[in-house]
Amino acid sequence: MTEPLKRPKRKNPLKKTRLPLSPQGIRSRTAHGLTAAAAQGRFALQVCADCGTVLYPPRDACPSCLSPRLPYKDVDPRGTLVVETTVRISTDPYFRERTPWRVGTVKLDAGPMLVAHLHGDAVEGGRVRAELKLDRSGAPVVIALPEKDTPNMADDPQLRELTCDPKFRRVLITNGRTAAGQAMAKAFSEAGASIVFVGIADPWKPFPGMDALRGIERVEIVPLDLTDTESVTELAEQNGGRVDIVVNTAEHVRAGGIVERHGLTIAREELDVRYLGLMRLAQAFGPAMRARGADGVNSATAFVNLLSVHALANWPVYGAHSATEAACLSAAQCLRAELRPGGVKVLNVFFGPLETEWFQQVPPPKVAPSQLAKAVIDALKKGIEDVFVGDVAEDIRARLAVNPKALERELGS
């Protein structure tokens, strides 16, 4: 039984904030196959292409047949927790602060033995399911969960260390005027966030959905204009020390490519709202978040970027927009490296055309804002780094993996 998490008390401003430490995050290049799987919430291990042996730890030759063909593939995550121990004395500063810490050896049904972190409800001799997660250093680790869900299981301290669960955390949604922003506010409130700050530029200007937004529990409207450095800085000065999750819902979608478009006005606006907006946000909130990565139950935990899937492959129908999104994706990669020392994850959410007025001419399937919000909450609860939402995004991901050049030609015709 997992003890349900207690709502954290108000922080004593005179007390020292515990600084974030990282567990050892070095991995061999081969082991980064696990990183790729963990980033997407998949459980994939090396499977020998010649003899079918499932391998762990990662290797460069199959111990059964010496084949070098060892691709990562999704495998059955079920197994038995053969034996466990509770580490009470650790050599590593990160774990020293977190002992007692349970680890054990899992015999996977698929074959290999895994040394794994243990969820509190995983018992010796019992059935478990293994999941790959990214730890606070961004490196992949295995955790053994009870085979079936148990009450309050997300509150387990060893599991919560690997996730970005919004429960009891304080969230900033940067733009509440959009349908996505409003759906996000509702979803975070329902997920147990303790405060949902929702940014609104020019709050005196009414907008559709305003009353419903104000009616959501624990929503607090704050003035925020991502195109205005002063506005962003001011909000960070007031609330930067109590924002644990940032969700950038700033949108700027205009159809059209590059050659047919006259002038740069729209392109500038796009970049100002999306790319420079992201930079302003990261510069204002990033330092405090990075310093607060181990600040108790409501530690800073995630920076969420909503990105068009066309950041990965340009769609000339929305060609300029795609390019701006690509800039944001590149910035997010930089941000990921910069926030990692604080144990703060950067979640990139790739989605296809939204069910909004700016994609009016685009045929379905489209992504409903509520679907996008649900995907963000799920991804944070799992602690993953990259998530693809909707059929178009999944389609692009699959085609990119097979033949990026074919995708480029097909998107452009």
Binding site: I26, R27, V87, R88, I89, T91, V115
Partner: protein
């Protein structure tokens, strides 16, 4: 497993000049200093000059970036036979058997075998995180308990499987402490009672404080040469009746319940021409008492799973029915890195040549030494053993 062809004897080859450079908890000196001290003492006691040493075998974790070759220049050696044995707790036995073959074949006349490591503040932690690729990728990030956590899993599984109790492991540790109390170089000499053992703080369940070895700095060394050479130099020596080594044995065992000895134990006794009941003392590799218990079983002193009963029915002190780890072993002397893999061997040489520094085993003529090492992922990979006898 077992050997497929007949093993040749080590007739005419001996090991002599057991050297220990007294251990220290921490050392400000590097591994090179410890290795140098060992060579210095070894040559002096053997009555040899450095240039007489034409074979050099080194085991060390902390000599980096150097390996044995770089150290030849460092120490002014010009050997015609050189070996680096990165096998941790199995390095002593493996160094011995390789050196013996070199001498037997005429590739070298005097092989100096040295196991030495330094221990500096924080060097142990740094070694753990990069001990092996598997440790880096798949063990150290899990609580960073180091070998304590890995052996905790092995110990717990053994207890679950064969009904061993903490008291059984305690008996091994307490007896070794008794043995250590007369051994001048033991770092831990405070009398240990079973109550002390049982009530010690938990480190990684079921491993408690006195199950753990203490990392320290130190060196062990010995010389391998022809029996005739030892005689002419007036050096008391031991003969090698048989040796085995085996690595990554039984990978199909989900958790380690036996070591590589089990694969070759029949060869070991057949080649020696004696049996387990003929040995006068046993030096096991004891980083965690469960591993000593595995060795009692896998080396033929009792059957698999009978380790706990075997321990309960014997006294393990030097004056007991089964003298075990007669200098106190690593559990009481300390674990000086790769020197730990030589500790039992060097002590066995002393017991068999009547030069014990602590309390002697009465009339010791045959001794068994075994080694075990390298927790690469979830189990120790390297194992070896040697049956030694007092030279006539």
């Amino acid at each position: 497993m077992g050997g497929s062809s007949e093993r040749k004897s080590y007739d005419g080859v001996v090991a002599c000049v057991p050297v220990t450079i007294p251990y220290r908890r921490y050392s400000t000196n590097g591994a090179h200093w410890w290795i140098g001290q060992a060579l210095h003492t070894l040559t002096k006691r053997a009555g040899l000059r450095a240039k007489d040493i034409d074979g050099f075998s080194l085991a060390s974790f902390t000599a980096g970036p150097d390996t044995a070759i770089g150290l030849t220049q460092h120490f002014g050696l010009s050997p015609r036979w050189l070996d680096h044995v990165p096998l941790g707790g199995a390095s002593g036995v493996v160094a011995l058997r390789r050196a013996a073959r070199a001498v037997q074949a005429g590739d070298a006349d005097f092989v100096a075998c040295v196991g030495a490591d330094t221990n500096q503040v924080d060097s142990f932690r740094r070694m753990l995180s990069t001990f092996s690729r598997f440790a880096q990728d798949a063990v150290y990030p899990y609580g960073s308990g180091g070998p304590n956590a890995s052996f905790a899993l092995i110990t717990k599984n053994y207890m679950n499987t064969y009904g061993a109790r903490r008291e059984d492991f305690g008996k091994i540790c307490v007896a070794q402490r008794d043995n250590a109390n007369t051994f001048p170089y033991a770092l831990m000499k405070k009398k240990l009672t079973l109550d002390d053992y049982m009530s010690a703080r938990a480190i990684s369940d079921p491993i408690h404080l006195f199950d753990c070895v203490m990392p320290c700095a130190g060196a062990e060394a010995f010389l391998v040469c022809r029996e005739a050479s030892a005689k002419s130099l007036g050096l008391p020596a031991v003969r090698l009746l048989s040796t085995i080594e085996r690595h990554n044995a039984f990978p199909e065992d989900p958790i380690q319940i036996r070591g590589g000895w089990a694969a070759d134990v029949d060869d070991l006794w057949a080649m020696a021409g004696v049996g387990p009941s003929d040995v006068d003392f046993v030096e096991t590799y004891d980083d965690y008492p469960v591993i000593s218990m595995l060795q009692f079983e896998d080396l033929g002193f009792c059957k698999k799973g009978e380790g706990p009963d075997f321990v309960r029915s014997h006294t393990l002190t030097n004056d007991g029915s089964f003298p075990h780890n007669t200098s106190g072993g690593q559990l009481s002397v300390g674990q000086a890195g790769a020197a730990g893999g030589h500790l039992g061997l060097v002590e066995a040489m002393r017991q068999l040549t009547g030069t014990a520094l602590g309390s002697p085993v009465h009339d010791a003529e045959i001794g068994l030494v075994s080694g075990f090492g390298m927790i690469n992922y979830d189990r120790g990979l390297a194992s070896g053993a040697a049956v030694l006898a007092r030279a006539a």
